[in-house]
């Protein structure tokens, strides 16, 4: 049995915990605590260590999903989790442009540590205030239309949507592996 570790990261309230809870086959492990900082305006509880979920993918692969806390004061958890990851998802709320810069910072943090396949998941894409996908990608720093990571809208509460995002990520991962093999 092969284990593939996927990290789900992104700003506060992007839907990281929901994402994992929605797709996990086991009861997702969470470390939610009552929020007392500015997060409290957004939601009552916030992740302080990590979320964990598991999903059987095909016969031989088990996906282990790790969700990070959103706040930067927990960046030591980002570091711990990303170092062992095979791929990661950056979840960004489409309707909170004030988060884009911060999402970019998280992206830089991860990119600095690992070179692994990634996916940008745009949550809350159905919100009337949501930005168009193209503009969000630009705001995240991908100015050139080439070499962009795959980007999909994600509804973290809908299992089909979450499964689709994971499938796209795994495809990217597989492509990366093939590319690596052909380089050898």
């Amino acid at each position: 049995m092969e284990i593939m570790r996927i990290v789900v990261t992104g700003p506060v309230g992007a839907g990281k915990s929901s994402f994992i809870r929605t797709i996990s086959e086991i009861e997702a492990v969470d470390t939610d605590r009552k929020a007392t900082d500015e997060t409290a305006a957004l939601k009552a509880k916030t992740t302080v260590a990590m979320d964990f979920g598991r999903l059987q993918f095909g016969k031989n692969v088990a996906l282990h999903l790790y969700g990070t806390p959103g706040q930067e004061r927990f960046d030591f958890m980002w570091d711990i989790l990303i170092r062992k990851a095979h791929a990661f998802i950056l979840l960004v709320s489409s309707h909170r442009p004030q988060d884009f810069r911060y999402a970019r910072r998280i992206l830089a943090f991860m990119r600095y540590r690992v070179k692994i396949p990634m996916l940008i998941g745009l949550s809350h894409a159905d919100n009337p205030a949501a930005w168009p996908m193209e503009e969000i990608i630009l705001a995240l720093g991908y100015l050139s239309p080439y070499n962009r990571p795959p980007t999909v809208p994600v509804n973290a509460l809908d299992s089909a949507s979450v499964a689709n995002a994971l499938a796209v990520l795994i495809e990217a991962y597989a492509r990366e592996q093939v590319a690596e093999l052909s380089r050898l």
């Binding site: 939610d32 605590r33 007392t36 900082d37 997060t39 916030t46 302080v48 706040q71 927990f74």
Partner: protein, 131 residues
């Protein structure tokens, strides 16, 4: 009555100064924000607070999943000493750092003693105000 942060810090400072082998102490919220601290100079209290919260929440989760019941204390023992996390009130976690010469029995007693005082100061606001 509100929380008197100065008094809280003072209590921590006195604790760190008087308890033998204790190098630092902090009170943090369960979501990782500092309420009061008296830490060695090089330590960033924001990080310490976040780490304490993460540690305690994982510890509590382990306690639950492995049927260890309510977590009273989490202890990290390193070459340079101890880090001990104790749940103080519903809204506060108490962290102390002690050097490697510390005797655990004494430290535990010290924690117990100061905890009474900390609880009293912290719960001053948690209780409903009757008008």
């Amino acid at each position: 009555m509100g929380i008197n942060v100065n008094k809280l810090e003072m209590t921590l400072q006195q604790f760190v100064a008087n308890a033998s082998n204790v190098q630092g102490a902090a009170i943090v919220s369960p979501d990782g924000l500092t309420l009061a601290s008296s830490l060695p100079g090089a330590m960033d209290e924001e990080r310490v607070a976040a780490m304490s919260a993460a540690m305690l929440s994982l510890g509590e989760r382990i306690g639950r999943e492995l049927n260890r019941g309510e977590i009273a204390r989490i202890l990290v023992e390193g070459e340079q000493g101890y880090g001990i996390l104790t749940s103080c009130t519903e809204e506060a976690v108490f962290l102390i750092l002690a050097d490697h010469n510390a005797k655990l029995g004494v430290i535990n007693l010290e924690i117990k003693n100061v905890m009474g005082e900390l609880r009293k100061q912290l719960l001053g606001v948690a209780q409903p105000v009757s008008l």
